[in-house]
Amino acid sequence: MSTQLPTQESCDIAIIGSGPAAALYAARAAEAGRSVVLLEAGPERRLEQLYSSQLWARQLKWGGSPVEEQGNHKVGHVFNSGWGSGGGGMHHYAVYPRLQPSDFSVRADHGHGLDWPISYAQLRPHYDRVQADIGISGDATQEHWRPPGDDYPMPPMPLFAQSRLIATGFAQRGMHTAPLPLAINSRPYKGRPSCQFDGWCDAGCPIGALANPLVTYLAAATAAGAELRCESTVTEVIKDGTGHRLQGVRYRDASGQRQTLLANQVVLAAGTIENSRLLLANQLANSSGLVGSHLMSHPARSIYGLFDQPSEPTLGITGGQLICHDRYHPKRKADDQYGSYQWLIGQAMKPTDLLGIANTRPDIAGAQLDSFMREATQKVGNMVFVAEDIANPDNRVELTGQLDQHGQPLARAVHNISSQTQALVQAATQEGLDIFRAAGVAEPWHGPLIGMHILGGTPIGQDAASSVADSHGRSHDIDNLWIAGGSLFPSSGAVNPTFTLLALADRGANAMLTAR
């Protein structure tokens, strides 16, 4: 048994996690001259280990304590969460649309879910700043639905055959498509090279064309002196005598030793489920009783079809090539249907994996499988809708009776979608099949309804009675606790969340660095 006493180091800012939100906080704080330590539960990721392989890509997924899942629309925690330096940013596809102004006032406007305590206009400068930092390619003019914002710093990505083919279906139905806004370089940007359109983004982009944290904010943070400690799992948050401030955190290091890190400010950016789990396990920041509540996940479903000509399905970007927001508004589409949805069009697909070509038709087996694979890898096309989820207090992260290897309670994620959302996704599915038919696909088909992105659990809001944190992500209860990531979202909108959570983190970091 070791006789070494636990060390008690201190820093200005202790950050739990090293995903996109944590990395942005670390960069801003280190660049402002603060001493910063990021504690990351998973292993260190290095660009040279990002093998172009769907098999190896699985190592980037969640490898921490298991999360039990319940409900009619499970959040898919392992699939949807990262693990290791860069967090989910290492396998994310960098699709970066902005929320729409209407997403900020869904309760006031429609009586659903929760409102944001800020407007789009207040978040806009932070979107613009993040966009300039990391680089986004796209065509703002073509996105006629895009809310006000600076022009994209890079032109859009080129289109490959499947997107051109699918776009004819949208046009036939009088719908508009625009180049997908992507945090991927269409030309060299800030020392990072252009994309090579090989479709390996899901396995991580080792050349740094895609704005993963290792080549953006984490690189900036470490260059400015921040220290990243991997295989360091935070288990406890230490309160001071008043109960309104934290003294620091306790964590298990790579060898399982318990360590203490004292800090003036603590940033909790451990991903949606872990943010709630840590707060619940530590009975912290929960005077509202809302920690864990209003868990959300975008309902999403892919549409597939075989074209009668080559579609180049394995080329391009994993996230897609075109976007359509024609169905974002109105949010109330019929008496029994509520919510926005977007189409993301022309995802590059590899032969295998959960989202790969073989699993678009899991019913095909035996001798027919090989002929399907040979045809589909030349001629398949696909697109996916991403629909709004309604924030519901009964959808929540809660603790189970079981403990993990560190003695910490495990989490359960309960998530159901409402009948109005179910009606919405049925209509969207039908529309997708019709679009493919209009594009010339004789027999389109669709995949299962899945949960895409995990949001909510520590919603921001106006006051301590109705929310967990203020509009900057600062806990209403604990003065020096800053929460970051998708857990802060009071409503989900129907867009991929990372651009927004980075904009929120930028706003939060500014506030933290000027806070007393």
Partner: protein, 174 residues
């Protein structure tokens, strides 16, 4: 395309497994425990191999069983298997042991098994007396692992006439 199998697709690809079934299948509270020994007999591995070959022709010669054995010897969070990716709260070993037991039961003492007929029944959850996790879930996972070894490698891409276009070529897994 008529989809009488849509229900199967929904069930297979989404992680829609009742918690009680998972508990029965050997739930783990720690993903870091060293993997225990794999209690699958050579005869059971042969059954798994035959079933996989019926689902994904070519998986036997591509080395699926050696791939599974090697991956199951890794800590769960490092396994490159579909079962880890789906986030089922069972260890990969418990998952494959469960399959082996059900296949032994389905064989029911007879010398041979019609693997193609069995896989078709598994896909539609119509295997008599099947216990534990749904047969269609096992079908989905085994099919995915089989596809991975046949089509998911640089050699598999070549077979399909595709340029692999790796940024960094992956280490061999077979």
């Amino acid at each position: 395309m008529s989809f009488t199998r849509r229900q199967f697709i929904q069930r297979g690809a989404a992680v829609a497994v009742a918690p009680a079934v998972l508990a029965a299948a050997g739930k783990t509270a720690s993903s870091h425990a060293n993997p225990p020994a794999i209690a699958i007999t050579p005869a059971q591995w042969s059954l798994i191999e035959a079933l996989a070959e019926a689902i994904v022709p070519g998986s036997r010669s591509a080395g699926l069983i050696a791939f599974l054995q090697r991956q199951l010897a890794n800590p769960p969070e490092q396994a490159l298997l579909m079962v880890r990716y789906l986030g089922l709260p069972v260890t990969p070993i418990a998952f494959y042991q469960g399959l082996a037991e059900q296949l032994s039961a389905a064989q029911d003492g007879s010398a041979t098994v019609d693997a193609y007929a069995l896989q078709a029944q598994m896909a539609t959850d119509s295997v008599a007396n099947w216990q534990g996790l749904p047969a269609s879930l096992y079908h989905f996972v085994l099919r995915s692992d089989g596809c991975d070894v046949v089509y998911g490698t640089p050699a598999g891409s070549k077979l399909l006439g595709l340029d692999y276009l790796a940024h960094i070529a992956p280490p061999e897994v077979l």
